[in-house]
């Protein structure tokens, strides 16, 4: 199972149309994509391009209206029920009445881990996101960046191989965001998870990803898939290298092409 190159998420001719009062909205059209084990895949595009919708399809929070989607060889809903992924939302969404440690225990309680195991895992993931010692604090005592790290810890607490992140750093300022990006890469290297990451920041997508999926709206579709030539080791100043700038340029071109004459 651990060999690289195994496909964990595969979409074929995926279609999703929302029926709304203003008529049908074609959120995803003919999406084809394969994500391999250990990939860090970013979805980038303007709002309305379906990047979040696609992530939600993988998480079985939305149901596609056409095509096929498999997660770990199962349907997304089966994958959800077997707790195949951890999901990090745009907002941390920590329960204000639970301490950080108790928030991280939430999925563990629901999944029926023993309390000794819960404590052990909480300590492990708190260390992983650099929040050791903050377990006893309540969410409002932490900064926005720390809260988001706690919510990542919560998604890592159980043994899901896939981490789905929907603009997790979108609401944070750039300095905090850079710092968290660095930490996320370190975390990815240590845990070898497969990560799906929605963003609308080009530097963030290029810096983090092994594979960048460029999407465009109306209807939401994939316009380009870029396999990053950057090495796995990425200090922050890799963003000044010609390779980085070239990839960023290609992403920007893809976004512009997808926009067509809309802009």
């Amino acid at each position: 199972m651990n060999e690289a190159g195994t496909t964990v998420i595969e979409a074929r001719n995926l279609d999703l149309t929302f029926q709304t009062n203003d008529g049908p909205i074609h959120a995803l059209k003919d999406v084809n994509l394969a994500i391999n084990k250990g990939d860090f895949v970013s979805f980038i595009g303007p709002s309305g391009c379906g990047k979040t919708t696609f992530l939600r399809c993988i998480a079985a929070l939305e149901t596609p209206t056409g095509g096929a989607l498999t997660v770990n060889g199962m349907t997304p809903d089966e994958a959800r029920r077997s707790r195949a992924y951890g999901y990090v939302f745009q907002a941390a969404g920590l329960y204000p009445w639970r301490t950080i440690a108790k928030n991280i225990k939430l999925p563990l309680e629901i999944m029926g881990y023993s309390s000794a195991e819960q404590d052990e895992r909480v300590n492990k993931v708190l260390e992983l996101v650099d929040l050791a010692g903050f377990g006893g604090k309540f969410p409002w005592q932490l900064s926005g960046g720390m809260q988001q790290r706690a919510s990542i810890a919560r998604a890592l607490a159980f043994d899901a191989d896939i981490l789905l992140m929907d603009e997790p750093f979108g609401a944070l300022d750039e300095i905090v965001r850079d710092h968290l990006n660095e930490q996320l890469l370190a975390l990815w290297a240590r845990t070898e998870k497969t990560i799906g990451f929605v963003t609308h920041s080009i530097p963030e997508a290029v810096y983090l990803s092994t594979k960048i999926v460029v999407m465009s709206p109306r209807p939401g579709r994939i316009t380009d898939v870029i396999d990053s030539p950057l090495p796995k080791e990425r200090p922050l100043d890799i963003r000044d290298t010609p390779e980085f700038i070239e990839v960023a340029h290609r992403v920007r071109e893809g976004l512009r092409a997808g926009h067509g004459d809309d802009v």
Binding site: R80, R83, G93, Y95
Partner: protein
């Protein structure tokens, strides 16, 4: 400190207005008494005084003004009369006495607490049902709203009569009337509270494949706590009103409602006002107590910052 001065100023202003209001309210009765006692009153006969304005009479007979604050059975008792009556019927009476307001207050309070418990329990159960079942949402909520549009004063005698005919009397009918008033704010607040978690919170639980009952105990119920306490404060005040209303139509011999009723039968306005104040103080204490519990619970939950 500034706040205390402001509050005291407002209270002092109210007391002044109250004393002032006693003069025109009581002047005619006072003048009749003074006339009988042989004082010179302008104009001298009650017949002539009948159609004159009270303020004019008070100005013409200013000697009688202090007496408007000291009548035995005034139309409007003065603040100190009510205060003395309250003092005499609480501190200076044994609580077993039929004239003790503490005794009557306890009779009403026990019905209030039982009714509040029934109403709160029922309200929470209904809210849970409404949140989890679409059928209940559509069928129960309109009836809950309609139930509150019926004047309780019209419904209370029927509840008492119906329950009496099946052999239930005493504290239970009062408690049921009290529950009838208090369940509604609890339903409304609790439904809002249980629905307060946003779509993201619910999605998060879905990604954990959490069951409905886990979602209820771990998310919906704790999230509803601030809403519940707000409703409970309204509910407990409504409970007290219900218990008092429940004492009126039965000709009950005990309870604050009975005191109000007896006072109005015998023209004992001081007794009515002191019973009113006792009810108000009781309500304030109940709401204050709930406020303290709210603070303690939310603090323990980490939700009070």
């Amino acid at each position: 400190m500034k706040q205390i001065i402001a509050v005291l100023t407002v209270i002092a202003a109210l007391v002044v207005v109250w004393y002032a209001a006693c003069i025109p309210m009581n002047i005619k009765g006072v003048l009749t008494e003074q006339e009988r006692a042989g004082a010179e009153v302008q104009p001298p006969s009650a017949k002539d005084r009948r159609d004159l304005s009270e303020i004019g009479l008070a100005l013409n007979n200013s000697f009688a003004i202090p007496a408007t604050w000291e009548q035995d059975r005034p139309r409007l008792p003065a603040p100190h009369q009510v205060a003395i009556e309250l003092w005499e019927t609480t501190v200076q009476k044994k609580i077993t006495s039929k004239r003790s307001l503490i005794y009557h207050g306890w009779v009403t309070l026990s019905a209030t607490m039982l009714g509040f418990a029934i109403g709160t329990g029922l309200g929470i159960l209904l809210a849970v049902g409404i949140v989890h079942s679409r059928v209940m949402d559509l069928s129960v909520m309109p009836w809950a709203i309609v139930s509150q549009t019926i004047p309780i004063i019209a419904l209370a005698p029927m509840i008492i009569v119906v329950l009496y005919s099946v052999g239930i009397q005493g504290i239970i009918p009062k408690a049921i009337i009290s529950a009838y008033l208090s369940f509604f704010p609890v339903v409304v607040g609790m439904v809002k509270g249980l629905r307060s978690p946003d779509a993201m919170q619910l999605d998060l639980l879905r990604t954990y494949n959490a069951s409905r009952s886990q979602g209820f105990w771990k998310l919906r119920l704790p999230a509803s706590m601030p809403y519940l306490f707000t409703s409970l404060k309204i509910g407990v005040a409504a409970s007290l009103v219900g218990a008092i209303v429940g004492e009126l139509p039965t000709g009950a011999v005990a309870g604050l409602g009975a005191r109000l009723l007896a006072g109005s039968y015998y023209g004992q306005t001081v007794q009515i006002w002191s019973a009113l104040f006792a009810a108000a103080i009781l309500a304030a204490c109940l709401v204050g107590l709930l406020g303290l519990i709210e603070r303690a619970v939310l603090k323990r939950m980490g939700m009070a910052q």
